[in-house]
């Protein structure tokens, strides 16, 4: 195996690149890009299995949401394996997970919402209005626009016309109280 692959100098950069691709969904982080930027002396044939190994390790750690004890045990096992990692590499991976854990976990949560996560909410309240054809004064309304999902699907504006619909707020308030127990 190429000597560069046994080192740990560029491993941190490699893990960042892997995180960008695997978790944050940034396009364009190809194996060729990573190789040419970080391990230019290594051939693609040798680099590929190395990259897969590191990707597998990172994905296992993230998927299991390992705490520090589990992480140490897991990485130690990897150093003892045939074709595993060196203890310097284990140290780099450990440091990387500790500093990126929160952000990676957040990405995994967002990914698991599929296309149903609420991305943004905007609203407007329209005041009382009158038209010359109608003597009826329109009661104030709230108009909400929700952006749902990765594709940015805009839910066509939703109007609350009757004030009694906002009584649902009491029900939602109950939800709010419940939710604070999960913080």
């Amino acid at each position: 195996m190429a000597a560069e692959l046994e080192g740990s100098k560029c491993l941190s950069g490699l893990l960042s690149g892997l995180a960008q691709d695997t978790f944050y969904g940034h396009p364009g982080i190809t194996e060729e890009l990573l190789r040419s930027q970080l391990y230019p002396e290594v051939s693609l044939e040798e680099f590929r299995p190395f990259l897969e190994k590191m990707k597998g390790i990172l994905k296992s750690i993230a998927s299991a949401d390992m705490d520090f004890n589990q992480l140490e045990a897991f990485l130690t096992a990897q150093t003892k394996k045939q074709g595993g990692i060196t203890s310097e590499q284990a140290a780099v991976i450990s440091k990387f997970w500790k500093s990126h854990k929160t952000k990676i976990r957040e990405s995994l949560m967002n990914q698991s919402c599929w296309d149903r996560g609420l991305r943004s909410l905007s609203w407007r309240v329209d005041g009382k209005s009158q038209s010359r054809h109608s003597a009826q004064i329109h009661t104030p309304v709230a108009i909400m626009e929700l952006e749902i999902g990765k594709s940015g699907q805009i839910c066509s504006p939703v109007v609350f016309k009757q004030l009694d619909k906002l009584d649902k707020i009491c029900d939602i308030k109950r939800l709010y109280t419940m939710v604070s127990e999960y913080q």
């Binding site: 309240v125 329209d126 009382k128 839910c155 609350f160 939602i172 939710v179």
Partner: protein
């Protein structure tokens, strides 16, 4: 009679939907095919809306806890403003 003329004159009703109901549940995501250990609570919402023709549709979405807390704050603000308008 008044209802329908009100709708005709209400330009907004052609492009907006009326909120009929707001259903919710508090769930806990445990695991998924792409992530073995998720362990996070989330709020799932189902909005029942009626378009100008009266057809009822469901719109569902999810929020993480911080997202829901922000959502709730906005709702409260809307309620407060509607009261004063």
């Amino acid at each position: 009679m008044e209802e329908s003329s009100e709708q005709q004159l209400d330009a907004k009703s052609k492009v907006t939907s009326q909120l009929i109901d707001f259903e919710w549940k508090l769930g806990m995501a445990v695991s998924s095919d792409s992530c073995r250990s998720l362990k996070y609570p989330y709020v799932a919402v189902m909005l029942k809306v009626a378009d100008h023709s009266g057809q009822v549709k469901n719109k569902s979405f999810e929020m993480t806890i911080p997202q829901f807390q922000n959502f709730y704050r906005q709702f409260k603000e809307i309620a407060a403003i509607i009261e004063t308008v």
